[in-house]
């Protein structure tokens, strides 16, 4: 066990309403200090207005080798896209 605590992944939100984006990680023994360290390290220059910290061990990630089947966009299911449908001439705002 590290005397610097566990690894926390840090996510920053640039502006209210925008998605949180991963920006790196910090070490800390608890959530409060992880948040404090994240602020000190990743938000010194207006980088954001909100932060998430998550213990790295709780992040479940897909494997790179899944990239084909796992993310298959099912391109043959063209009816999922709005362009599949025809709309009568003269109809607007649809």
């Amino acid at each position: 066990m590290s005397d610097q605590g566990i690894v926390w992944e840090v996510f920053v939100q640039k502006k209210p309403g925008q998605p949180f984006v991963h920006c790196g990680n910090v070490h800390a023994h608890d959530a409060e200090l992880a948040l404090q360290n994240a602020r000190d390290l990743y938000a010194r220059r207006n980088e954001g207005t909100a932060l998430w910290v998550v213990p790295a061990k709780y992040i479940v990630a897909s494997s790179p080798e899944d990239v084909g089947p796992f993310f298959d966009p099912a391109n043959e299911k063209i009816y999922r896209h709005p362009t599949f449908y025809t709309v009568p001439e003269g109809i607007s705002h649809m």
């Binding site: 590290s2 005397d3 610097q4 605590g5 690894v7 920006c23 790196g24 990680n25 910090v26 070490h27 800390a28 023994h29 608890d30 200090l33 000190d40 390290l41 990743y42 010194r44 220059r45 990630a61 494997s63 790179p64 080798e65």
Partner: protein, 311 residues
């Protein structure tokens, strides 16, 4: 299901200029080369705080003191971004630090030179950070994702360092004769060690060719060094300073400056631990780590206590 050929997958990602990510398969040597380069870079940021830290209490004005403090704080941050990127390669923070403390991992040879006068703060910002930026701009396109992203953040923060250094040099250069002399003396002492920061000549560099092939580095030591000289010499001449190199001369046909050869023997000496401040720098860092132990222990004890109270 067809068998994925990991090696082909890695190579084709590189050829498409896609980043390699922590969970991707990668050759063991690629992983090692990245650990070596990223940790060496991180250590340089951390050790780099020491020569400038020496001058925080002696800065000539409150403005200069605030700026220097902010700069040293940035360097700590840069070190942490890079340690964080390095850990994604499966090496622990302890192990990374241990490699520095035992001398297994290196840091930039430049930080083994002493900072004798206030003008050295100018020369370091202008020259040393200028050379570092030259490297770092290239590394924003390095092939390992977490390293590239850390470099993007570092580059955003770095250009203030170079400007504050050049500003110090400008102020001294137009000051009293003694101040101008101080600036010139600093330039004379830092010029050659700065050129050495880019590493040995390409024909002698043991890591460059492979690093370029893996797209860890995008340009070679000699290319970066030439570009640095081209950019920096006019900046120095503009404020009336001269460079300690008789061979330095604009070459109109090559559109480059010709310049002399750094003393590579000295370079080898410094990276092998025999520079003017090697022992002092490392022992300062080791002592800081040891003396900070109680803080880390207190943080842990406090976190445990809070957990108990909550339970």
């Amino acid at each position: 299901m067809e068998n994925i050929n990991f090696e082909d997958n890695f190579e084709s990602k590189l050829s498409r200029n896609e980043n390699i990510e922590p969970k991707d398969w990668m050759p063991e040597d690629y992983r090692k080369a990245n650990i070596r380069q990223i940790s060496q870079h991180a250590h340089s940021e951390i050790i780099g705080m020491l020569p400038e830290g020496n001058w925080i209490t002696r800065a000539p004005s409150l403005r200069r003191k605030m700026v220097l403090l902010a700069k040293v704080q940035d360097e700590a941050g840069h070190g942490l971004y890079l340690y964080s990127a390095c850990e994604t390669l499966g090496i622990s923070r302890e192990e990374i630090l241990d490699q520095l403390y035992t001398g297994k991992a290196k840091y930039s040879s430049i930080f083994n030179y002493p900072t004798l006068t206030w003008a050295d703060m100018g020369a370091i910002g202008w020259l040393v950070d200028g050379a570092a930026i030259m490297n770092q701009v290239m590394l924003q396109r390095t092939s390992y994702g977490p390293y590239a992203r850390a470099m993007v953040r570092i580059c955003k923060e770095e250009s203030f360092h170079q400007r504050q250094g050049y500003e110090i040099m400008c102020t001294l250069a137009k000051g009293s004769p003694a101040q101008k002399e101080m600036a010139q003396d600093a330039l004379n002492r830092w010029w050659w060690p700065t050129l050495m920061m880019f590493g040995p000549p390409d024909k002698e560099s043991i890591h460059t060719a492979q690093a370029v092939k893996w797209k860890i580095k995008r340009e070679t030591n000699d290319q970066l060094r030439q570009r640095f000289v081209n950019q920096t010499v006019p900046q120095g001449e503009m404020i009336g300073l001269t460079f300690p190199d008789e061979k330095l001369k604009w070459n109109e046909s090559k559109k480059n400056y010709d310049f002399g050869e750094p003393n590579w023997e000295e370079f080898q000496n410094v990276i092998h631990g025999n520079g003017p401040c090697n022992k002092e720098r490392l022992s300062t860092r080791v002592t800081a780590h040891k003396e900070g132990k109680w803080v880390r222990e207190a943080l842990e004890a406090y976190a445990n206590k809070k957990k108990k109270v909550a339970a």
